[in-house]
């Protein structure tokens, strides 16, 4: 049962996915890569809705700098899979105009690091168009691309933009940690009538997992509880979730059992699941691939404090990347990133006193 959403800014009611339907199993043997999951999500939605087009650098003839859009030019043709020049501000703004007119653009940033040249369009126009126009026009664009450090790309190419952009009200921010979620979340993002920043990770594009053949949509704002334990709550989002699972593995060998929560979306933030877990464990470690100062980790800590202060047996701890520009050298970058060792150490610390 799909729901329809009416709003004066929508020329026709939006049909939202049926989120009451139970999700298909995560287990199975249809093993595909993260990049294929993304491609399936886009292609499935594009087949249903001719308003959707994909634009970005090298998405068409080159089949995607990271091969996410491989084959899509062949299927959808050059009018819907569109190569752009290196003009992020220009084509982000083009998407805003096109979305206002009634289309549903998907914009691929080769990397979110390059979205800084488009910051004005994506932070001034995208999140505010509905408000500035007094509810006349929304801005349903999905911006997606690689986010996060790793792979020795150096200081300018390793942005975790959630640390910057999450401050701004008016966009939904999605950050999957695995292929199954990536597909379901991207489909929801494309179907959603609001703008979405969808953060992928170049480091995970080759990750493989079962992705069920049947169509599914994962709702925003619902964390996935990946491990259950009574001792401490580990909260993360995006690629570092995988480091948290490793840390949890190591800790279990020591007899420490954690709840591991994959937030999946940053805005909305499923604070209810976090609070429920913290009320059980009394301890929390937040793991975030961004710099610490005024980060999403700071926000999670703050919200936990606001809502569960009296339930805490230890102050919340956060594990961010180190607070320096991203270094190139492998040894420095390895220490720069959050990793299972640091996460496990933080969990132990919450249990020590």
């Amino acid at each position: 049962m799909t729901t329809t959403l009416e709003h004066p800014a929508l020329p026709e009611p939006a049909i939202l996915p049926d989120f009451t339907k139970p999700l298909p199993s995560r287990e199975g043997d249809r093993i595909i890569q993260f990049r294929e999951a993304l491609r399936e999500a886009m292609s499935e939605e594009m087949r249903k809705d001719s308003r959707i087009f994909l634009m970005g650098e090298e998405v068409a003839q080159y089949n995607g700098a990271y091969k996410i859009s491989q084959g899509m030019l062949d299927e959808f043709g050059p009018l819907r899979i569109i190569d752009s020049p290196i003009s992020e501000n220009g084509f982000a703004g083009l998407a805003v105009g096109a979305a206002m007119y009634g289309l549903r653009p998907i914009i691929e940033f080769m990397s979110w690091s390059f979205s800084l040249v488009a910051a004005d369009q994506i932070l001034n126009n995208v999140p505010k168009m509905l408000y500035m126009s007094g509810g006349q026009w929304g801005c349903p664009v999905v911006f997606r691309g690689n986010d996060g450090a790793g792979g020795q790309l150096g200081s300018t190419h390793s942005w975790c933009v959630e640390g910057l952009y999450a401050n701004v009200p008016g966009v939904k921010i999605v950050i999957p940690s695995n292929p199954y979620d990536a597909k379901g979340l991207l489909k929801t993002a494309i179907a959603d009538p609001d703008p979405v920043f969808f953060l992928e990770s170049e480091r995970m594009l080759g990750d493989k997992a079962h992705v069920p053949p049947e169509e599914y949509y994962i709702p925003f704002g619902q964390a996935a509880l990946l491990r259950e334990g009574k001792d401490c709550t580990i909260v993360s989002f995006g690629r570092p979730v995988n480091f948290c699972l490793e840390a949890d593995e190591a800790l279990r060998a020591e007899g420490i059992e954690c709840d591991v929560l994959d937030m999946r979306t940053i805005r909305p933030l499923d604070i209810d699941s976090i609070i429920a877990s913290v009320k059980k464990t009394g301890r929390i470690v937040v793991v975030d691939q961004c710099w610490p100062f005024a980060s999403v980790a700071s926000e999670v800590v703050t919200q936990v404090i606001e809502r569960a202060f009296d339930w805490l047996d230890h102050q919340p701890l956060r594990v961010n990347t180190e607070d320096v520009p991203t270094p190139y050298s492998k040894v420095l970058e390895a220490e720069y990133l959050p990793n299972p060792r640091k996460i496990a150490a933080a969990v132990r610390k919450t249990l020590a006193s």
Binding site: P11, G93, A98, Y101, G102, Q121, N125, Q136, W137
Partner: protein, 390 residues
């Protein structure tokens, strides 16, 4: 101090030599409407200035006085469902496009009856039923949007084969070739956004016209102090293989004669264009501008070329109807002036008497179309009242 003259700051001379005038076929009544529109803008802006002095309008407020022929002449060259987008000096475009003056004034008064429910203010005149995709505050940032409007308008007939369900579109309507206008000030020529937009328009062959409302100044900066090649801006268009024109914006009929064929060409060929449209603003940049960067003589010189006076005298003089009499009698002119004054007075009253937005209902509405729990640590987003224009 830089001194601009009505000689140097004008359309290219070739214009004078035109043999065929598209305006010749226009009914006299149409031209009278144009005059009315221009008078309406002039009067509206005068009352804005007063209201601003009385602190009924806040924020930044940029008046259009002097530039009336531009909005009216260009918009009259369009179909009513051709999309347009502009910068923050946007009252003229809104009125020329047909926005209810009450909704426009109420917006500036910060009232719920404003075109943006009081959330936007002077710089943000949006009018969906009239295909005005906003006034925008960041210099140049509207130009990629205008490019996107052209992209979408082209996409709907090329790809979708049906029009997007926009206002006025009826089921079964066929999509058609459109043109979008992206207005910008001369100061916006120096923003990278415009250049990226023009390159995209050239590459993708999009039917967008970048209309530079070249009033010679960006705030206190005379154009040649901020923009290279100010004496021939068509070079900016050449860089992207885009057709470029210089058009005089002081005589609305001349303007139309130049601009309308360009619109038709862009529509037919689905190609972009760029227009250096010479105009002049009589007042300061915004409400607090001592205007030391230009002389009173300069301003007076341009006031001497006033487009409203000119049209009025044309319609009351050389422009004759079938009966050989001037299209417009003095009596009718006075009538129109009164009518316009009355319309603006009503708009003022409407703005004055309208209620302010209900804080509880409006502060947290219009942030998301699909608000969900936990989007904010503060509280849930909601739906507010329906926009009065929809």
């Amino acid at each position: 101090m830089a001194q601009m003259t009505t000689e140097t700051h004008s359309g290219s001379p070739h214009r004078k030599a035109r043999t065929h005038r598209v305006s010749d076929s226009l009914p006299g009544e149409t031209l009278i409407t144009w005059l009315r529109d221009m008078l309406l803008i002039r009067e509206f802006e005068n009352r804005c200035a007063q209201a601003y002095q009385q602190a009924k309008i806040g924020g930044f407020c940029h008046l259009y006085t002097g530039q009336e022929a531009v909005a009216v002449g260009t918009i009259q060259s369009l179909e009513r469902d051709d999309p347009i987008v502009t910068a923050y000096r946007d009252h003229g475009h809104a009125l020329a496009r047909g926005m209810d003056p009450g909704a426009c004034m109420a917006e500036m008064f910060g009232k719920i009856t404003g075109c943006a429910k009081g959330k936007g203010g002077s710089m943000h005149m949006f009018d969906k039923p009239n295909w005005l995709f906003g006034g925008h505050g960041i210099v140049g940032a509207q130009t990629p949007l205008g490019t996107g409007l052209a992209f979408a308008a082209r996409y709907e007939w090329e790809v979708m084969g049906k029009p997007c369900p926009n206002p006025g579109v009826k089921p079964g309507d066929k999509p058609k070739k459109k043109v979008s206008l992206a207005y910008l000030g001369d100061g916006a020529l120096n923003q990278g956004a415009l250049h990226e937009a023009m390159n995209l328009a050239g590459l993708y062959s999009l039917p967008v016209i970048y209309v530079v409302e070249n009033n010679g100044y960006s705030m206190g900066t005379a154009i040649e102090r901020g923009t290279t090649m100010a004496h021939d801006l068509r070079k900016k268009a050449d860089a992207y293989g885009i057709r470029g024109e210089i058009i005089d914006g002081f005589d609305v009929i001349d303007l139309y004669d130049d601009f309308k064929p360009l619109v038709d060409w862009c529509r037919e060929n689905q190609r972009p264009a760029f227009v250096d449209l010479k105009t002049y603003r009589y007042l300061g940049h915004s409400m607090s501008d001592p205007q030391k960067y230009r002389t009173k003589e300069e301003v007076d010189q341009f006031k001497g070329k006033d487009s409203i006076d000119r049209l009025a005298s044309q319609l009351m003089g050389e422009r004759k109807g079938k009966d050989g009499k001037p299209i417009l009698s003095e009596a009718r002119f006075t009538e129109i002036q009164t009518e316009v004054k009355e319309a603006v007075r009503k708009a003022m009253d409407f703005a004055e008497e309208s209620p302010t937005p209900d804080v509880e209902a409006e502060l947290y509405s219009d942030v998301f179309i699909n608000p969900q729990p936990n989007l904010s640590p503060t509280r849930d987003y909601i739906h507010g009242v329906k926009n009065p224009l929809l």
